[in-house]
Amino acid sequence: MTFPRIASGRQLAAAVLGCCLLLPGAALAQSGKTLKFIPEADLRILDPIVTTAYITRNYGYMVFDVLLAVDEKFQIQPQMLEKYEVSADKITYTFTLRDGLKFHDGAPVRSADCIASIERWAKRDVFGQKLGDLTDSWTAVNAKTFRLKLKKPFPYVLDALAKPSSNVPFIMPERMAKTDASTPVTESIGSGPFKFVKAEWVPGNKVVFVKNADYVPRKEAPSWGAGGKVAKVDRVEWIYIPDSATAAAALNAGEVDWWQQMPPDLIPLLAKNKDVKIENTDPLGSIGLLRFNHLQPPFNNVKLREAVLAVVNQNDYAIAIAGDPKNGKPCASFFTCGTPLANSAGSTVLTGKRDFERAKALVKESGYKGEKVIILDATDQPIVHSQALVTADLLKKIGINAELAASDWGTVITRRASKEPVEKGGWSILHTWFVGPDIVSPALNSPLRGAGEKSWFGWPNDPKLEELRDKWFDAPTLADQKKAAEELQLQGWKTIPYIPTAQLIIPTAYRSNIPGIIKSPVTFLWNVEKK
């Protein structure tokens, strides 16, 4: 046999190369300006009502619009609405839509779309469920006007409809909004400032939006989710880059324009580049938390929870998570610091001297016999992992037999649903974090509930907490609401459903040629130019 293979291989390679070179340099070049944005996570689910995932919420803000929105002064402003009226008895709310609102398929936004969307949202969202419980009826007066009739006055109707974070009451076409609330919608038709290009969606890599030329923005200046949503670029590409070092290099090299959330340890690397700006654009940040399992020993004993509270130092957690005091600070309130209901009632239990001797005495007093304590640790989530390490160290110092259960986040969120003892796959402590808007009030703060097994994971049973929460719902004025929130917080420090660990700001980094980024707890992509 001769040795023709090399020659054949060479010919084949030449043929392949030739073919490749002959291919037209396919012109997928996009006309207009394209903003390339690295999002905080990969977009997987296209229904912001089915999931509370923040990335889906952010997608929702691109594609859908809202009736009302909160501005930077915490004032509720009309967004899709022209106006709203409240009857003197505060039972009836009449909403009127703005002119010119259209869905991406060209259909006008009608009252029926709004009613169906709100009703679907009210089945899923915790605030929406409260509103739903008090709703007598929704009625379409005409194509542009619709009416809500309550069973009794509820001072938070507008707050609920203006909810800025998950689940946001986005408005969808009626046919989409008629989908079961647990089943994801299959279309991506909204009336927001950008249109989703499903054909170009590559999950795990790229999400493409184009400007909605039919969108009629409000005249007011943008302020958080309120005001004019003016799309100033023709196309937005979300490019998901899972590796932080690669994302930093891509921003440095100008391959992308904006990196939504960068790890603090990479700040020095990017700070050297004069064309890159690093800012804290989120005024509220996120709140870390240490959650006890109230169903199982040993933390079903309040003495032991008090022992942990006595030694938690928020500065330690802030440094562990954020690495730099500029990006992490104490927040000794159950409500996001910097918002109207944040307060310091009873907070000295967290801000006072950290007392290890008292903690040890409380451990002894609790009758703790050295039972194993399992701290869930998601090593692929830096915020969770950092908190878990600090907590494990603290518990050991006060004589608690703590053990980290290291796994990925997917495993943690499954295991945290277990109500079993630790020997049977249960847990004792978990850590997570909530973005600021998600815990600004008793209506939203899920971990502050005391409804036993109906509560969020950890299942604290504290009827007094529930009673005070209901009292807050009935508080008619802001002063009354603040007072009720303080009472709720005082009760929280008594029974300790969870411990807030720190308020974190995750910085954003962007090229200096994209002015107009809105400072807000949610990342919005309107108003951003590309020069």
């Binding site: 070179l21 089915v50 995932a53 899972p242």
Partner: protein, 313 residues
């Protein structure tokens, strides 16, 4: 040989069946709940339970396995739990980048490794041999991601010759495509280059000590002709085998490379799916990988006939 090929192809069916059963069972037993991930961090247990029921994840093992197997028998790999897109669509979106990366890596590795291995064997004990072996040791020792970051820093960030990340499909032009492939292929290819170069050298040394090679030299044939036409051809069987194994190893290797260079390939697809417990994708991609592995092995076996006439099937 046709009969052998058909028998081997038929044998892939039970192999794939075992793989399917093993993968499904493993996923069933592993911790994790996609419903909890879909629902999000604030969701209640009731929300999660509703989603679990909608996805059929509350069904017993045999019903879930039977449903999946029945769909598979009809060529349906299912739909992603998260995106709702068919698994075949997701694999189709990711196939080109992974194939491109694998082929480019193989081209880089083989084009460098075989000549280097041959030269090292021909100059065994000399400085060229020592240099080639030293490079091989480096290739084996340096993790792919370290090399990848080094290449990015030098060629993309400092010199700005090549892009940091991403993938451009071939249909958008050969040069844009190649620009995005150079760094990942070199980063991934070095390990395989080291592997193939060492095997080539060892195999060549074995062949070069044979009588017929001495005879060829005695007949006055040019050294290059002896090396390539006589020695390399006879040393090819282990080299081709290791290239085949290399393709299987590449399947694992592309995961890291695709992540570092943000290439939307199948490696990242399956890793993301594992982290989210997107079972249909994990099952579909595992089946695909096992089919590729079986086929590559078959092709390697068949290729022996061309290199060694003594082999008959």
């Amino acid at each position: 040989m046709l009969g052998y090929t058909l028998r081997r192809l038929a044998a892939t069916i039970p192999v794939m069946g075992v793989v399917a059963l093993f993968v499904f069972s493993l996923l069933y037993l592993s911790p994790g709940d996609p419903a909890a991930i879909i629902a999000g961090d604030i969701a209640t247990e009731e929300d999660i339970a509703k989603i679990r029921a909608r996805l059929g994840l509350d069904q017993p093992y045999f019903i879930r396995f039977g449903t999946w197997l029945w769909a598979l028998a009809q060529g349906d790999l299912g739909t992603s739990i998260f995106t709702g897109l068919p698994v075949t669509t997701l694999i189709g979106q990711r196939l080109e980048p992974t194939l491109a990366l694998t082929l480019c890596t193989l081209v880089v590795a083989v084009a460098l490794a075989v000549p280097l291995g041959v030269i090292a064997a021909a100059r065994a004990g000399g400085w060229i041999d020592r240099v080639v072996m030293a490079v091989s040791v480096v290739g084996f020792s340096v993790p792919v991601f370290v090399l990848a970051y080094g290449l990015v820093l030098l060629f993309a960030v400092q010199l700005e010759w090549l892009p940091v990340q991403g993938y451009t499909p071939l249909k958008e032009g050969f040069w844009p495509f190649l620009r995005h492939m150079i760094l990942p292929s070199v980063a991934l290819g070095l390990t395989y280059m080291a592997l193939i170069a060492r095997i080539t050298r060892a195999s060549m040394l074995d062949v070069l000590s044979q009588d017929y090679v001495r005879t060829a030299h005695a007949k006055g044939l040019a050294p290059g002709t002896v090396l390539v036409r006589h020695a390399l051809k006879n040393a090819a069987v282990p080299i081709v085998t290791i290239i085949g194994i290399g393709i299987a190893l590449l399947i694992g290797g592309v995961v890291v490379t695709e992540t570092v260079f943000a290439i939307p390939g199948i490696g990242r697809l399956v890793v993301d799916a594992i982290l989210r417990r997107d079972y249909p994708i994990i099952q579909g991609v595992t089946l695909l990988f096992s089919a590729v592995y079986v086929l590559v092995n078959l092709l390697v076996d068949l290729s022996y006939v061309f290199f060694d006439p003594r082999i008959r099937y």
